[in-house]
């Protein structure tokens, strides 16, 4: 066996992977276009004017888990309280923050200590204090010992009074119609739709971005943030919409995920055994409902429901994505029993194989392709022309996928300024050279972290705000 033969086979493997993964991406993008257009038209046709003020809407408990979130938390809570939705409550859990999270909340919402005897459905870390707001009676703040995000969400669930819960991150600023956008399809079919998630914008300072009106919103000038926006848009609007159509939506994101509370209680709440809670919970709910053969739907929508903070430094981005990769590995390994099993329907036959291919195998495939490249170059076997054409091809293919996602986004939301949208599309082909290497590195570190059993959150520092 010669080196050349080995390299040849390695190149075939890489090409095989590329064809498989991009083939799936394009198939999903096509389905996503159909789903995105369908949902946008459906929303237009439904005309929700009467629903906004109706008491027939379903009340929602909005749950925050906040650990060291003194910078974004007040804006985030304010954006929820300003939502146009008839009935909801907001429960913020301060997860033993070591910064001024509780103090800023206390000042902004005039919190007063009070006590509530709650239903203890889930065991959580000890509660240190409960606060009600003099400014808005819908707000409750719970101060507890540090126990992680899952523990905090379980604690909030113990206090939640309504049938649906919306979990959002403390750095997420919601649009004023976000609750209605999320609950719209649940109102149509509350018996079947048990979970809803939707896309968010990425911004350095979400509170500023959300002030810009529809159609005139900017995409951050910083390339790193613009690339993250591109990544989100593509992931949600050229993939997850397709997952949703086939009912294998595998990740209801922590930044905005609506769940029916009884479902969460039935599956045992948010698990503390994983690095993060969102993907694992989605997998667990699928596993539970498919195993019992009960009808259900978990939907991902194309409507931009808010903006969330994106890391502004490469280091922070790597830490964030490394954590995401770890939790993907943990979850896929934990639920490997669903893979390829007919009992689990599209989740086992399409969703998990796709996840495996695009999220779990990809760090290894990327490593293999880099290794092949280096060895080929060192051995003088690299055909530069073929290599350049291949790379250019991948870059353009990425660009096409980005454009498809941007097209669905614009059709659904009409949110961004046209020049900004065009800039996003122009960045599409460059992503392979400027952004993908960072993500590949983060993923590789995530794999190593997973193999080492690392369970740390590695939260990125919140972006600095200018003094008021």
């Amino acid at each position: 066996v010669t080196l050349e033969l080995l390299l040849r086979w390695a190149v075939y493997a890489c090409f095989g992977y590329l064809v498989a993964v991009y083939g799936t991406f394009f198939a999903l993008a096509a389905v996503s276009v159909v789903e995105g257009v369908f949902r946008a038209r459906q929303r237009d046709a439904e005309d929700l004017v009467g629903v906004f003020d109706s008491r027939f809407t379903i009340p929602v408990s909005v749950l925050f888990a906040a650990y060291n979130e003194e910078v974004p938390i007040v804006n985030s809570v304010r954006s929820v309280l300003a939502n146009r939705y008839p009935e909801f409550e907001v429960i913020v859990v301060n997860d033993g923050s070591t910064d001024r999270t509780l103090e800023v909340l206390r000042e902004a919402f005039q919190l007063q200590p009070r006590h509530i005897f709650f239903r203890k459905r889930f065991e959580t870390e000890q509660i240190r204090g409960i606060y009600g707001s003099d400014v808005d009676p819908r707000l409750i703040v719970i101060d507890k010992e540090n126990g992680g995000k899952s523990d905090s969400l379980n604690c909030a669930l113990n206090f939640a009074r309504y049938r649906y819960m919306l979990g959002i991150d403390a750095d997420t600023v919601l649009a004023s119609d976000a609750l209605m956008a999320g609950m719209r399809l649940i109102l149509r079919d509350p018996a079947t739709v048990i979970g809803v998630t939707s896309i968010l914008s990425i911004a350095e300072q979400p509170e500023i971005r959300m002030r810009e009106p529809r159609g005139r919103r900017r995409i951050d000038r910083r390339p790193l943030l613009a690339f993250q926006q591109l990544d989100y848009t593509r992931s949600f609007l050229a993939a997850r919409l397709g997952w949703s159509r086939f009912n294998f939506m595998l990740c209801s994101v922590g930044a905005f995920s609506i769940w029916r509370r009884d479902v969460i209680e039935e599956v045992g709440g948010f698990s503390r055994d994983f690095t993060c809670e969102d993907i694992e919970l989605t997998f667990r709910v699928h596993e539970h409902f498919r195993r019992l053969g009960r009808p259900y739907r978990i939907l991902s929508l194309g409507e931009t429901v808010g903006a969330t903070e994106g890391p502004t430094s490469v280091r922070s981005l790597i830490r964030q994505r490394e954590r995401w990769q770890r939790v993907i590995m943990e979850t896929v390994f934990a639920y490997r029993g669903m893979l390829g099993r007919r009992r689990y329907g599209t989740v086992g036959l399409l969703g998990i194989p796709f996840f495996l291919l695009s999220e779990v195998v990809s760090p290894f495939a990327e490593l293999l392709s880099v290794a092949v490249l280096l060895v080929s170059a060192a051995a003088g076997l690299l055909d530069l022309q073929v290599f350049a054409l291949t790379i250019a091809g991948i870059a353009v293919v990425n660009g096409v996928l980005t454009n498809i996602a941007a097209l669905v986004d614009d059709y659904t939301n009409r949110l961004y300024r046209l020049p900004d949208l065009v800039r996003l599309c122009l960045l599409g082909p460059l992503e392979l050279f400027l952004y993908r290497p960072i993500i590949s590195l983060a993923r590789a570190r995530g794999v190593v972290g997973y193999l080492r059993g690392d369970r740390g959150w590695n939260k990125f520092e919140r972006n600095v705000r200018a003094a008021a």
Binding site: R41, G50, S54, Q112, H115, R188, I404
Partner: protein, 349 residues
């Protein structure tokens, strides 16, 4: 291959720009409805509105919308198209028709929406949101007729909408519904009684003793909303209810009763049931009574001190400590909007 993808990239980018720059687009027009416009003649419009092909559904919805907006009397074909659309197997068509019909706000709309409330198997909540917007005098007689319908879900939804539209029911109707075999109907009755019956207390008190927990919950909540202070002793009994939700509703009602609720809560502080004690103490907290006790006790009032001691022995120190912290807070505002005039400490005795 590279060339093909480059062309695809350029085409998709052009599509985004063209989509934005399309100047002929009417923002009020439904996307996907290319064949129907306001200028489409009525006969053709009616034909589109009756087109049952799935791929033409957006044109159909747009046509239905334009028909519903017509101010002149509807032709038979147009009327039939609206009726058919409300019964269409496609949910999007049904909901599109629902919104279009609702916007008319006339007698025909009321009739068709009530028919949808009866016939639809799913999505009745959406019909109810539209019925809520219709003039009360048009929908109320139609809905009242449904209260004797043999189907329990029809009776349930009729009651729900009657409650929201604030039309009134007679005692004979209420009395019959009190004995309805469906707990859902009884719960809807409890929820709506303060809205559609002038003296709801007696009926609600009867529902407080219902076998189903959610009927008791709605009865307690409704009594609170109606500020029916004479029902305070009966509501206070629910602080011992096995359901947390019922206890919670009773607690909120007692807070809303003000002084009468406080009196009942004080009575239950030494109850055998620990849940009743917890809830009673929470009533005292949420009504602002505990803070007033703290303030009064600080000036040496023995009666207030006795109340605080009683709360401590009932549920521990945590509530009193919270009250002390609140009382010490400089920017304190009233604890609950439902609390009425200052309850005298004499109620403790």
């Amino acid at each position: 291959m590279l060339l093909a993808f480059s062309v695809a990239w350029a085409v998709t980018l052009a599509a985004i720009v063209a989509g934005r720059l399309r100047i002929d687009r009417d923002p009020a027009r439904l996307r996907g409805a290319r064949r129907v416009t306001a200028a489409t003649p009525r006969t053709r419009r009616a034909r589109y509105a009756g087109d049952r092909r799935r791929r033409r559904r957006w044109n159909r919805i747009e046509a239905l919308r334009l028909i519903a907006e017509t101010r002149t009397p509807l032709r038979l074909a147009e009327r039939e198209a609206l009726v058919d659309a409300l019964a269409d197997p496609n949910e999007d068509v049904r909901l599109g028709a629902l919104a279009a019909i609702s916007a008319r706000g006339d007698e025909l709309a009321a009739q068709l929406l009530v028919t949808a409330l009866v016939d639809w198997q799913t999505g009745r909540a959406r019909v109810a949101t539209e019925l809520e917007r219709q003039p009360e005098e048009q929908v109320a007689p139609l809905l009242r007729a449904l209260l004797s319908d043999p189907r329990q879900d029809v009776r349930f939804w009729a009651l729900q909408v009657i409650g929201r539209s604030r039309s009134s029911l007679s005692w004979a109707e209420v009395s019959e519904l009190l004995h309805d075999p469906s707990p859902n109907v009884r719960a809807a009755l409890a929820e709506g009684l303060p809205l559609f019956y002038r003296r709801p207390t007696m009926a609600l008190r009867r529902l407080l003793a219902d076998d189903e927990w959610f009927v008791r919950l709605h009865a307690a909540r409704a009594l609170g909303e109606a500020r029916a202070v004479r029902a305070a002793p009966a509501v206070a009994e629910l602080l011992r209810d096995p359901s947390w939700w019922v206890r919670d509703a009773a607690e909120k009602a007692l807070v809303a009763f003000g002084k009468a609720g406080t009196r009942e809560a004080l009575r239950l502080l030494d109850d055998e049931d620990p849940f009743a004690r917890d809830s009673a103490a929470e009533v005292l907290q949420d009504s602002g009574f505990l803070e007033r006790c703290v303030t009064t006790a600080a000036s040496g009032n023995a009666e207030a001190e006795a109340v605080l001691a009683k709360v401590r022995s009932a549920v521990g120190d945590v509530l009193v400590e919270s009250a002390v912290a609140r009382a010490a807070s400089p920017d304190q505002t009233p604890a609950h909007e439902g609390a009425d005039d200052e309850p005298r400490l004499a109620v403790a005795s």
